[in-house]
Symmetry: C2
Subunit: 319 residues, 2 copies
Amino acid sequence: MSRRHAPVPELFDAALSGDRAAVARLLSIIERGGEPAREVGRLSHPRSGHGYTIGLTGAPGAGKSTLTSATIAHLRSLELEVAVLAIDPSSPFTGGAILGDRVRMQDHATDPGVFIRSMATRGHLGGLSLATPEAVRLLDALGRRWILVETVGVGQVEVEIAGKADTTVVVVNPGWGDSVQANKAGLMEIADVFVINKADRAGVDQTRRDLEQMLDLSELGHDWRPPIVATVANTGEGVSDLWDAVLRHRAHAEASGQLTRRRTHRLREELREIVVQRLYEKARDLTTGDRWDELTDEVLHHRVDPWTAADEMLAPIDA
Amino acid sequence: MSRRHAPVPELFDAALSGDRAAVARLLSIIERGGEPAREVGRLSHPRSGHGYTIGLTGAPGAGKSTLTSATIAHLRSLELEVAVLAIDPSSPFTGGAILGDRVRMQDHATDPGVFIRSMATRGHLGGLSLATPEAVRLLDALGRRWILVETVGVGQVEVEIAGKADTTVVVVNPGWGDSVQANKAGLMEIADVFVINKADRAGVDQTRRDLEQMLDLSELGHDWRPPIVATVANTGEGVSDLWDAVLRHRAHAEASGQLTRRRTHRLREELREIVVQRLYEKARDLTTGDRWDELTDEVLHHRVDPWTAADEMLAPIDA
């Protein structure tokens, strides 16, 4: 059997022994979803639970990729290994991927202590929100202790994905207060650490004041007030401060029980999503075929109403 | 039995005989969803199919409410009756409604030939995309021949809802070409008629050229090129041109078979959504209770993997 068609358990063993191509292949399997993805999950799950996930999000152009790259460099200087997932929900209309600039990350492409992968999907509802925790779980099972999840954009899906990390870093720029595109409420809700990147530009103090004010007004952060760190990712300035803030949040999350609560909540959500996804697949099976076409026609001609038609199609699972 | 708790068939009869409070109550029932909403649907469906739906969407601040109000005035001058649904998907984070300015519409509040209702939902996935066609079907069954569906915002949900009309009007303003927030690709895809509102401001010609150019480059519009109408909704200028453009599109849609194709497609989508919704409700039932809590705990402690847990919960419907 060629490597290309290697079965999942064989790929998993290869990945465990350090074969990076096997890891990439397993992530592709997760991206495509379905039963093979679940097989990866069944192998990963018993070995997982030791990695720590850091979500990183912010508006396009905020410099997330550069900041991720600078963070990788910092972690490597501390002799820590790191895995990075760059998550890119495709536009619902164009179907096109709008991946950020990955060029800087390629600096680390040949470093065996760094693993970087972009993930995108044009698939069904909930594709990426299901695939991301599965991908994290795989990297965790393979022994990565630090897993960075960077999302492109500030739409609902991106914010949700980034917000499901153990520590979530929200990247803004000077002048953020004036921007109208940013999903500010959503970002405030998920931030454990704020970064004002491109801090060599004017307006850092004002942006810091804006953020502090929003934090003052916020209902959130009673037990943890997100620190605000200024960075210039291009030069690496402030990146060790960012890392210190992440470590402080981790220590707080572990000591306060927040980490356990978050992971429990996340797992519940994921389980519910798995159930919904399976039901969705079921619905797809139920809404194809001759009987479905006949029923649609009956509804179109007002001989059967849509609810009665749906009831008939659902009869097999309504037992 | 008090009116407040009147059963659906009684409310429906009252609505048929012109009781506006009964119509409002039926729409609230549709908004809340579930079995009572389906009951309204079963009563509406056999009587529906004679109304014509016009969707109206565009960025916040484009003047949609004012334009809707001016259109109502124009239709009333032609002695046509009209029903308006103002659809407002709530923010996923604040749960708050961000209804546009409804004040001008109140001009028509006492006119029996006009029916206006805002709809919002903080409910489950797909709530508004299911409730909107049900609300349209009710108004149709009650004899409204012209139904305007105005959506707030240009997010995916808003664009989808507006795009499900028989004729979709997209409202832009001078300078639209420069705006970054607008979901331009999505709006181009659904527009049957473009309106440049606030056409008393500078930049109308440039915006018209931008739109024409986008239409030239577009893959769409082979059999119908969306006309571009300039309006000043505040003064009513251009509103009769807008109405003429809508009527021209309607004539084209009817003659070309587009209307039948669209309605068939819409109904198929709606049926599929009903099936998904029912499955979602099923999932909610399956993911509560003691066994679910136990399983979640097992997964948390890595004794059972998430897929095996989901399989067990889904066993009752996997027969």
